[in-house]
Every structure is written in structure tokens, then in C-alpha cells.
Symmetry: C2
């Protein structure tokens, strides 16, 4: 999506060739009107899917998830992160490895909020190795809910999470896919 690619080029910052900072519009300071435009694009790409809920993970997925839930007129559910493995029978949980923080954490969702028969659209700000989405997919499976697809803002195409998920049959709609980035610039997938 050209709108997002242009914003990344104008406002994003590549640090050390590996990290893309977009904290001035996506995940620290948030341009809500801009997220609403992304949400409209996802709404078009998932039209006809009869989505019943949007599911994301705290924290940086919440604002995107809220824009998406608003556009689709469905509730937003966000999975909570716990460092402890102290989960109980009232929640679905999944263990996720975070490369960013080099640690495992549990994500949990109350069994009240993901129900058998739900048609779930996953949402997140970034997609790199795909571990967060895989955790959410595991939670949906545990609940007997259907994963309609995943709405990600920025995909690091040079890591392989998005393509792995597509191969596994998940409809992954990333609005900007970065093929390559370094101090010279950012190259998007065409």
C-alpha cells in the first residue's frame, strides 16, 4: 500500500540495518487517522469474510486492532503477555519466543472472549518471524475458532514469518513488505 510505504520512507528510521523505528506514527506516538486509513484497506482485502472479532497482542497491536475493529464493527480482543507460566484453566495460552527481548513469554486470552465458531482476524503492527501470530493462531485453534487471516502493517519480508504462514494457508495481508533495508534505504516487495 503506497500510503504506508511512503510514510515509512518519510518517517521511519533504520537503525543498525536491522531495526526499523516507526515510533512517531505507529507504536509510541500514534497517528490514529492514519491507522483508520490502513483499516479501510484491510476491510477491503477481507471483504466477505464475515469476521466476528479482531485479535491482537498488547501493547503495540492495540491501536491498530482498535481501528480495524471499528472499521469492521466487531469487538477487539487483545491477548495479554505474562512472563510467568502461571496460567489457569480460565484462559487459552500460548508460549511465544521474542527475538527482540530474547525471552519466552506466555500470551493468554480469557476463554470468555474467543468462542467456538468465531471468525477471527489477527492484527499486529509488525510481522517478522511470525512467532506472535503463530501464538495467536494456536489460541484460536484451542478455542475452536476460525482464523480468517492476519492484518499486519509492516512485514519484514527478509525474515520468513509471513511466507511461512502463507504456505500454511493463512491469508496474510501486510500493507508494506520490506524486502531489504540498510543504511542506504528501504526496498519494498512489489
Amino acid at each position: 500500500m503506497k500510503l504506508l510505504e511512503d510514510r515509512i520512507l518519510s518517517d521511519g528510521e533504520v537503525i543498525g540495518g536491522k531495526i526499523l523505528k516507526v515510533s512517531n506514527f505507529l507504536n509510541h506516538q500514534i497517528d490514529v487517522a492514519f491507522l483508520d486509513q490502513l483499516a479501510q484497506e484491510w476491510k477491503n482485502r477481507f471483504s466477505g469474510s464475515k469476521i466476528t472479532k479482531v485479535l491482537t497482542i498488547e501493547s503495540s497491536g492495540i491501536a491498530i486492532g482498535a481501528s480495524l475493529a471499528r472499521a469492521l464493527e466487531v469487538p477487539l480482543v487483545f491477548a495479554k503477555k505474562h512472563q510467568s507460566s502461571n496460567v489457569n484453566e480460565e484462559v487459552y495460552s500460548s508460549k511465544i519466543y521474542s527475538f527482540t527481548h530474547d525471552q519466552y513469554y506466555n500470551v493468554v486470552v480469557s476463554k470468555k472472549y474467543i468462542l467456538p465458531g468465531d471468525k477471527i482476524l489477527l492484527a499486529d503492527d509488525f510481522l517478522a518471524n511470525g512467532n506472535a501470530l503463530k501464538g495467536l493462531i494456536e489460541i484460536c485453534k484451542g478455542a475452536g475458532a476460525e482464523v480468517v487471516g492476519a492484518a499486519c502493517a509492516i512485514e519484514k519480508g527478509f525474515q520468513n514469518g509471513g511466507d511461512q504462514l502463507r504456505k500454511a494457508g493463512i491469508k496474510v495481508e501486510s500493507l508494506a513488505i520490506i524486502e531489504k533495508m540498510d543504511s542506504n534505504g528501504i526496498e519494498f516487495r512489489k
Copy 2:
């Protein structure tokens, strides 16, 4: 605000007389359209304030903050929590004690996103002892920004954070103030 009080009465759950769970519409599953209605009420209550940014703390303030930022047509900034005291000169920080988790944590905001002259509306889902808001106020002071007020959904009036802040001159607008709650029910401040 009757809308929120009614929703708390119909969907809230008082646990052990002290904890109010509203996780089916406010801070786990989120009714975005409902938050938009709350945001309109705050917009009216802070009309004429020339707010430039909404500031909240991850995670449960983000969805409310996003609705509020949308209604006011300004950016949302969310402060990030760190358990470590490892903060640097690029951020404003404040140390907050959490009664819920019985631990101190740091909240940080990049110096890029709160500027001298900004007129900041604070936002959060709950107001109890007021520690989170006091931390955000300290951050705004450090930045030379003005705190226009605080928009909180649910205030536990029987703890004294809200009234302390009002005495200190902060315009605190909570949309439901609980005076008393126990297994028999919830009583709101009139």
C-alpha cells in the same frame, strides 16, 4: 455518565469486594463503538482546551486513548512500562508504584513526542490511587508541557487518587465514580 454506569452494572463483576472486572468491554475484550461514545463525552467536557496530544500508559489505556485522540483529532502517545531502571537521556521517565502488582516500574516517553508548549490530556481506563496519572504528570512537567486534565473511565472514589489530583488543581473527568462496592452491589457518586 449514565451510559457507562449502566454498562458497569450490567457487565461488570465485583470480585472480593475490591476488584471490579470490566474485561468484557473495557480492557481485554474492547467495545470500540462504546469507547467512541465515552470519547465524545470527554470531548464535550474538555471543549475549548486546545488539546494537542493525548497521553496514556500501555496497555489498557491505549484503546481509550485512541478513541479520544480520534475524537479530538490529535496524536496519541503512550508511555511504555519498563521494570528495569535502565532509562536514558532520550526519554522522560517516572517511577510508579503499582498496588495491583506490588512493584515499582518505570514509565518512559521519548522526548520527541512530548514537547514544551504541548497541551496534554491524560487518559486511562481506571483511576484508583492516582499513581499512574501522577507519573504521567511528572513526565509532562519534565517536558515543559501543560496538563489540561485527565480523562478516566472508571474512578474508585473510595480510594483517594482522583480527589487528591483535583485538590492539586488537575481537572479530572471520570465518567463513572464508584463510591462503594461489595458483593451487594455498586454505588456511584452523584
